[in-house]
Symmetry: C2
Subunit: 386 residues, 2 copies
């Protein structure tokens, strides 16, 4: 198995991009990635892997050709991978496989989503797709409602407080406040986070990620070739993934995302590392409770101690593992299919020492990308190449 590196990353501006087509959003990401890399021409890219839920826009499916066409690399193998919010995490996984196998030498993995251009009725429909439609959506359950159940149960079992949830929002808005790509470039106070309008108890509007248009991508190659393309590549040293029952009622626990636990173990085993070895991470904070679950599922803290982890500042810069330093899904935004590789975009810049909210001396990193309410998950571990 060949070692695999990432040599470039790009991301569009996130937010309300109504009027921009999928092709234009992915072009923004692609052009940024290509502008920073040496000795790679468009014709050198051999395969493209795209994550998308096809939430909005005009092409609600079979869009992979549209994306390669949009960046003028038509003709190569390409496919859409759809695992709800973990779509481009899986696109990255398959891109990694193709380089590791020796099938390809240079590939692109990314994602694109348009969410702002569709009616409220259609939004509800597509959000339902993140969870189980038959037993949850058609019974009136909403997506925030699902995560509200997890949050309530976490508060009940472990004494997690509403303030702990709010602190996640405060931290991630702070990180987004100086990120020019972020949807919300504005810090909020704990009081604002606590007193915002309720969505589904205990989650208020500041506990929920926004609807976001955006795209992201990364360029991969064999690690042995990486220095030809950039002075500071990053290596993928662990790749894990897992799944769990689609519907919440079938799961063993509401306070653990089993697929994330499995994905983390697989990635750490491959990397021969433990959570203590990670310097910086991006985790899936579609709701504030999701970030707290992630701390525990990945193993940054023990089960039940996620609330303490955020409130003691352990996921802030200067803490044990700074998390979501680009603003996270919560404040940078969550263009569903683009989120997995948008997480890698942050990690890429952290490990190169060039991030807007740089973590000093970051040498290792982790991304954690969850689909739906936890039915799928990918975890990747990275290190800076020397």
């Amino acid at each position: 198995m060949r070692k695999v590196a990432i040599v470039a990353a790009g991301e569009s501006k996130f937010g309300d991009r109504v009027g921009k087509e999928y092709e234009e959003l992915i072009s923004e990401a692609y052009l940024e990635a290509m502008s920073s890399v040496n000795n790679i021409e468009p014709k050198d890219i051999q395969e493209a892997f795209w994550g998308s839920l096809a939430f909005g826009g005009s092409q609600l499916g079979n869009m992979s050709a549209l994306l390669v066409d949009g960046i003028n690399i038509m003709g190569i193998p390409t496919s859409r991978i759809e695992n709800a919010c973990a779509s481009s995490g899986y696109a990255l996984r398959y891109a990694f496989f193709s380089i590791a196998a020796g099938i390809n030498d240079i590939v692109i993995a990314g994602g694109a989503e348009k969410m702002q251009d569709i009616s409220r009725a259609t939004r509800l429909y597509w959000f339902g797709v993140g969870g189980d439609i038959k037993w949850e959506r058609l019974s009136g359950m909403t997506f925030p409602g699902n995560y509200a159940l997890m949050a309530s149960r976490h508060m009940h079992e472990f004494g997690t407080k509403k303030e702990d949830l709010a602190q996640v929002a405060v931290k991630n808005h702070k990180f987004a406040s100086n990120n020019p790509k972020a949807q919300f470039q504005k810090a909020i106070t704990l009081e604002q986070a606590m007193k915002a309008p309720m969505v589904a108890y205990p989650l208020n509007i500041f506990d929920c990620c926004p609807l976001t248009d955006g795209a992201s991508c990364v360029i991969l190659c064999p690690a042995e070739d990486a220095k030809k393309y950039t002075d500071t590549p990053i290596e993928i040293i662990g790749a894990g993934a897992g799944s769990d029952h689609l519907a919440l009622y079938q799961r063993e626990s509401l306070t653990r995302i089993e697929g994330a636990v499995k994905a983390s173990k697989m990635a750490f085993d491959m990397a021969k590392m433990t959570p203590n070895d990670i310097n910086v991470a991006e985790v899936h904070d579609c709701f504030t409770i999701a970030e707290i679950l992630a701390y525990e599922d990945v193993g940054f803290c023990k089960k039940g101690e996620g609330g303490k982890f955020i409130s003691e500042g352990l996921s802030d810069i200067g803490g044990k593992v700074p998390i979501n330093s680009g603003g996270g899904l919560k404040a940078k935004g969550h263009p569903i299919g683009a989120t997995g590789t948008a997480q890698v975009y942050e990690i890429f810049h952290q490990l190169r020492g060039e991030h807007i909210n740089q973590v000093d001396g970051a040498e290792t990193a982790l991304t954690h990308n969850v689909g739906g309410t936890g039915s799928s998950c990918t975890v990747h571990i990275f290190k800076r190449m020397r």
Copy 2:
């Protein structure tokens, strides 16, 4: 790169399966595959790759967890791959990567589709997804309309006759007539095929594949381990894929599917073979003209000679390369996301010498799976392991 083999294949009954959930359809396929293999338990399967357009059923997306749950292998990495009608062709491609890379030792690739349980309005919507929505579907173009344009142009450029198209339907209905899994288990005459009600000139109802519920799957492992699991594994010796513009108006030619030409070349180069080396094949006959284009794009005959190829019996048993011996999409049926691995199901049995319409001495085979009107394509080449 490790060599990769297929050790089992399964397929549900195709046709009108209203009342059966995705989980039940994939179970039928899975149980057939597992019943023929030795020394593989459900817990041995390490990853699952599923093709689906999510055309019908209740879960119109994020369904990968539902499928692993349905066959009781929950917890493993799994994703949905969507490339319209080439979805499970790409699922097979990524499964192949994962074994070739040494990431996994036993995986399942398959697909499932439900198409019979939805309204006519919704059907039109989803069929539109196969082509370009903005410039084709929203201008009133239908999917048969797209292929009718290709057929008309082929007739104009090369003198292909309506009888040539009809002969494809006659051949594939003949092959389906003794296939217990097929949607249409009935032979038709040339006269019936010629005189059926028109859909979009020159394509009548017998030139069009049906709407089909169904599922299929294959089990893959490293070739070096394959004999542990079955006496007669088949090896994947070539894997190619390609793409072309989504909308017909953008393409260089209406009579060539460029993605299929590229996919074929890539697969033949990997296999170190030419089209003359192939003993039996399954090609993507969503419409009769598509099978004629496939003869030419894969290279079984020269450009423009596809009409002659069918009418001279060269794709029938006893001809140069027997094609679609299980009945093809045309008569076995076309459950969109399941079709790619359903083609491999036929090839698997042909190369083991146990097919219902056995081609004597078949040692090598090819599958050709097209997405939409040709925006994506995968081609795989197989040989019987000795």
